[in-house]
């Protein structure tokens, strides 16, 4: 039932109404990058898509869990209003409550047929970043 994706960056776990993902990262930065990748991998077919446009983001929130949702929802907002399919993410700085990152992608334009699933938002449901032997993991439920 559990589907692995792209070298263990994340896997989907079954959720009755929505989509749940379990995301891994060797450090917190990678966890945030992989969470963003997981979200766009659900939204669109990212296989072979290039990423000529890069946007910078500086965001803050009271803690890491809230920051993760803020980061994902910021990218979603940009996807829906600027019509960019993001596929590459780089977290430059991540301190308590603040992230500086870039996301690169390609305009939806002629890639409309790559779109798969409409994600409404990342939720806070059961959200908890956990330390593991090899880094960090987090489970996120997306409302779709």
């Amino acid at each position: 039932m559990v589907k692995s994706n792209h070298m263990e960056r994340y896997e989907q776990f079954p959720h009755t109404a929505d989509i749940g993902v379990r995301v891994y990262g060797k450090d917190m930065k990678e966890l945030f990058e992989n969470a963003a990748f997981a979200m766009f991998d659900i939204i669109a077919d990212l296989q072979g898509i290039d990423a000529p446009i890069t946007k910078n983001f500086t965001l803050d929130a009271p803690d890491h869990e809230q920051l993760l949702v803020v980061w994902l929802d910021e990218l979603l907002y940009n996807f829906y209003t600027k019509s960019i399919i993001f596929s590459r993410f780089e977290v430059k700085e991540l301190t308590d409550g603040c992230i500086k990152a870039t996301a690169s992608g390609r305009p939806v334009g002629e890639n409309r047929n790559r779109l798969k699933t409409e994600i409404k938002a990342a939720t806070y449901h059961g959200l908890k970043i956990e330390k593991t032997d090899s880094g960090y993991k987090v489970e996120i439920v997306f409302d779709i």
């Binding site: 039932m1 589907k3 989907q12 776990f13 079954p14 959720h15 009755t16 109404a17 929505d18 989509i19 749940g20 939204i43 929130a61 009271p62 869990e65 809230q66 949702v69 803020v70 929802d73 907002y77 996807f79 829906y80 209003t81 019509s83 939806v108 779109l115 798969k116 699933t117 409409e118 409404k120 938002a121 939720t123 806070y124 449901h125 059961g126 959200l127 908890k128 489970e139 439920v141 409302d143 779709i144």
Partner: protein, 491 residues
């Protein structure tokens, strides 16, 4: 935080049988519950209900400050985020009762409307293909779809206040459509200033778009009448063709829920609110944060009614084109339109006292009884029409509200309720063509996404007949008639 990871394991908590249709989670189940949880289900359904985390969510909702009577769940209950889908909770506004954006959900005023026609199944069958193609062609659907109904910024603010009325006044419908829409298609107290620039931006150009996932337009035929007298008043009979439209507030509602959920996490410490899941973040209805959320939520609700009104207009036009008939001959009148993701301030009697409550319906439908003053005059005798879409292969229902629903703050179920996760449904449908399977049953479906058809396969849902059997059996609503799908457009 008592929450230990998430996953689909059997729920082992206490569930006491009250009667054939009611089950109780005693408030002693978890420290912090203020009231019992009550789930409407029959013996068979309880096994499915235990298979995910939904009952735990019923218990979590019972933590909300000001909650009265019970944390309720309808028989279409399944695992959501924060509230379960199918959850109903009412808080006493004058005793610090809270409003929770998670108790409404991202798709604010997701809802459904039912339209009747003068056509019979025999009239539609020969032209079904043309009709489904026309609907698919004329109604924008799918991820991030944009509509043809373009609105300026100043007009958008008016639309958020006037809802479906704005749409009708601009030529997309008839005055009487408003009479047969919950709250006349515009809930009072919408505050456009409580809506962020980003929410406006996400909602722009999405009026008259269906969306994706479980949103749909379905052409159907009535195959069973249970209450002839009521059906006569609604103008419905066996064999008649009806149309159901299921959609919500699109990006505007998602952005509003997102922003206010985030803000309300800060309210938890500010107002000393203890909830076991951050998605239940909330604020007192009477606080500045609570008022701002409700002002914005009402804008999204009105946007959704405007959107369904636009979708109905596009549907009527497609029918006129395909059948080459005028509006009078087609007789495409709105039977009713209901919201099933919303919070409403309503007066209810609790323990013999009349109180002002904030009723959250998250995947649940308002179901006012006969005689209720908010019903249109024609429906005063019947009670409120309640529209229950099922899956695309089996049935849908029209019910009415009953006096028995007093115990649920006049609320009932909203659909079939999912049984399988989307990934499980896709696995189960691998190598099969859902559209071909449905075609052999005489149902034509079209979707912009092949995955959507698998995710929405009939077997991924509970049998709506059983769900409706429970609400009818428990006396919280009454069956009027049943429909069967002919053609379906999915997002």
């Amino acid at each position: 935080m008592t929450y230990k990871g998430i996953g689909m394991s059997m729920w082992q908590g206490e569930l006491e049988r009250i009667d054939a249709f009611r089950w109780r989670i005693p408030k002693g189940y978890k420290a912090g519950m203020r009231v019992d949880g009550v789930i409407y289900a029959d013996e068979e359904m309880v096994k499915d209900i235990r298979s995910d985390r939904a009952p735990e969510q019923v218990a979590n909702v019972a933590f909300l400050p000001g909650i009265v009577k019970h944390s309720l769940a309808m028989p279409d209950i399944h695992w959501g985020y924060g509230f379960p889908i199918g959850g109903v909770a009412a808080t006493d506004i004058d005793s610090g009762g809270v409003v929770s954006p998670g108790g409404v959900g991202f798709d604010i005023n997701c809802g459904v409307r039912l339209i009747k026609t003068n056509l019979k199944e025999g009239d539609v069958r020969p032209k079904l293909k043309d009709l489904v193609y026309a609907l698919y062609n004329d109604i924008p659907a799918g991820v991030g779809s944009k509509g043809d109904i373009r609105i300026s910024g100043a007009e958008e603010r008016k639309l958020l206040v006037d809802g479906a009325r704005w749409v009708v006044d601009h030529g997309y419908g008839r005055q009487e459509d408003l009479e047969y829409t919950e709250d006349h298609g515009a809930i009072k107290g919408a505050d456009p200033d409580a809506v962020s620039a980003r929410a406006y931006e996400r909602g722009k150009n999405q009026s008259g778009t269906l969306g994706s996932g479980n949103h749909f337009i379905e052409v159907q035929a009535i195959d069973e009448i249970y209450e002839k007298e009521t059906a006569d008043i609604f103008g419905l009979e066996a064999g008649q063709v009806t149309i159901m439209i299921h959609s919500g507030s699109r990006g505007l509602g998602y952005q509003i829920c997102d922003e206010y959920s985030k803000d309300m996490i800060q309210c938890l410490s500010k107002y000393g609110i203890n909830v076991p899941d951050r998605q239940l973040a909330s604020a007192p209805v009477n606080s500045p944060e609570g008022k701002a959320y409700l002002g914005a939520m009402k804008c999204a609700a009105n946007y959704a009614w405007a959107n369904r009104q636009c979708l109905m207009h596009l549907t009527r036009s497609a029918f006129e084109k395909v059948f080459n008939m005028g509006p009078k001959d087609l007789g495409m009148d709105l039977v009713y339109d209901v919201a099933h993701n919303i919070a409403k301030v309503e007066r209810h009697t609790v323990d013999g006292k009349e109180k002002t409550l904030c009723v959250h319906r998250k995947g649940a439908t308002r179901a006012f009884p006969p005689g209720h003053p908010e019903l249109p005059a024609r429906y005063r005798k019947t009670g409120q029409p309640v529209i229950i879409p099922g899956d695309m292969g089996r049935n849908s229902y029209l019910l009415t509200g009953t006096e028995g629903a007093k115990e649920t703050f006049y609320s009932t179920c909203h659909g079939a309720g999912r049984l399988m996760s989307r990934s499980a449904a896709i696995s189960a449908c691998r190598g099969r063509s859902i559209s071909r399977e449905l075609e052999t049953k005489g149902i034509m479906v079209m979707s912009s996404s092949r995955d959507t058809l698998a995710e929405e396969a009939p077997e991924a849902y509970k049998d709506v007949n059983e769900v409706v059997g429970v609400v009818d059996g428990a006396g919280i609503s009454k069956r009027v008639c049943r429909m069967r799908p002919l053609g379906v457009i999915k997002g």
